[in-house]
């Protein structure tokens, strides 16, 4: 193979019909409330860990829906539960995080 000094870059576009949603589907089964998210950002703004870690439940849910890895984000969550309290749609975000931490075990 010739080294041209440059190569094909992977597309950053997410192909919605092709992404691997197994993680999201599994979480959705455990926490159907996840579907109700309107991405208002309350959870992320109130997050105790957010300002120094980038933890954001909103991003977590969106990234899962786009088949992206979210494990890095979870490592800062202190389960303080503020996100569950502020959620205007009543999503049990705290349990969602715990469930996700567990599902990662099976992956």
């Amino acid at each position: 193979m010739i080294d041209f000094g440059f190569g094909l870059a992977r597309s950053s576009a997410v192909e919605l019909d092709k992404v691997d949603l197994s993680l999201y589907k599994e979480l959705e089964r455990l926490e159907p409330g996840i579907r109700k998210c309107i991405a208002c950002g309350s959870c992320s703004a109130t997050c105790t860990a957010g300002p120094w870690s980038g933890m954001s439940v909103r991003k977590l849910i969106l990234n899962l829906q786009r088949g992206k890895d979210v494990s890095g984000m979870l490592s800062a969550c202190m389960l303080c539960g503020k996100c569950s309290i502020v959620c205007p749609r009543g999503i049990n975000t705290r349990q969602l995080i715990l469930s996700l931490c567990r599902i990662y075990d099976n992956k």
Binding site: G41, S42, S44, A45, T46, K59, V86, C87, P88
Partner: protein, 339 residues
């Protein structure tokens, strides 16, 4: 029963306009208003979008044609009985009324912003609601509004679309009200920065989008898509507003000198009591249930009981006006037997 009386519960825009129309059609409307003045929320509002018409002007027009209508202020409906052909009503002032048709125009209540504790209404010095701001525009003094606010933040959806606040419905008018008030504030404080924190901007009506564009283009209002999660007070009394800019994907903080909460619309607590009296139903959203929500919004499921305005759901004033007229016509047809 052959009297021409029609009981109108609520002396807000819906009740006044319906009374005006019924008078013209030859009926004798009786308005029962629980507060000491007619006009409802309108009487405490300053200017109306999208034409920036003074609320007082509309109120004048509404009351102008009311000669001949009986108005009871500071009065409530004590009880109401169904007769064979109408209703027998006892008012709290002891007056008894018999009529064949009742129009419920009991309107809405503003959400009590202190219930959203994290925003600190009633706790922090510089937090007000949309209603407070209107009152201030109209000339009332308000010590919470600083003389030279550097930054003003508007929080949309306070008590709307919020299960935790007990109201999962959109209040429909707050987005537009926020933009209107943002513009009015910018006109008063040209040097201040204005920030609107929203979940979704819902600007659906005639000229609303123009307002939005003007707010951006001519007034430089900043729009941040993110719901404010909490507010804390800094040492100088200014407010630290926390939200996530969901479009940029980053937590944001704003140091504001004034926070305006866009309190949403809830059904009046009394309305449920009224509904029980006429054995009418309350819908899942807390407002009264119409026959249907497309064709017969003005009609209840009980003969002779009609609705107008925000008692059946959040409404703008133009919608309320149209409904009040429609209800007047419905009542007229009902009483004349034109079915």
């Amino acid at each position: 029963m052959d009297n021409k009386k029609i009981l109108i519960i609520g002396g807000g825009p819906a009740g006044l306009e319906a009374a005006r129309q019924l008078l013209r059609l030859g009926w004798e409307p009786v308005i029962v208003e629980k507060t000491e003045q007619i006009g409802g929320h309108l009487s405490r509002w300053y200017k109306l979008f999208p034409d920036m018409m003074p609320a007082s002007e509309l109120l004048e027009q509404l009351t102008a044609g009311l000669e001949g209508a009986k108005v009871y202020l500071k009065t409530r409906v004590a009880y109401m009985n169904r007769l064979k052909d109408g209703y027998s009503i006892m008012l709290s002032n002891g007056t008894g009324i018999q009529c064949r048709a009742v129009l419920i125009a009991s309107g809405f209540s503003l959400f009590d912003a202190s219930k959203k504790e994290e925003y600190g209404y009633g706790v922090y010095d510089r937090v007000i609601t949309n209603a407070d701001l209107e009152a201030w525009f109209a000339g009332a003094s308000d010590s919470r509004i600083p003389e030279h606010p550097r930054r003003i933040a508007f929080v949309h959806c306070v008590g709307s679309r919020d299960l935790k606040a007990g109201n999962s419905q959109c209040s429909k008018v707050c987005c537009m009200t926020a933009i209107k008030q943002a513009i009015e504030m910018k006109e008063r404080f040209p040097d201040s920065g204005i920030w609107c924190f929203y979940m979704d901007l819902r600007l659906f009506g005639k000229k609303y989008e123009d307002f939005y564009i003007n707010a951006q283009k001519d007034y430089g209002v900043h729009f941040v898509r993110g719901r404010v999660s909490e507010v804390s007070e800094a040492i100088d009394g200014s407010l630290v507003v926390k939200a996530e800019d969901t479009l940029a994907g980053t937590p944001v903080k704003l140091n504001a000198d004034l926070l305006v909460l866009m309190a949403g619309m809830l059904c009046n607590a009394d309305t449920a009591t009224l509904a029980r009296m006429v054995r009418s139903e309350v819908d899942s959203d807390g407002f009264l249930r119409s026959r249907d929500n497309i064709y017969r919004i003005n009609e209840s499921r009980r003969p002779g009981v009609f609705y107008a305005g925000a008692c059946t759901g959040t409404k703008t004033i133009p919608e309320t006006m149209a409904e009040a007229r429609a209800a007047a016509l419905d009542i007229h047809n009902y009483l004349c037997g034109n079915d």
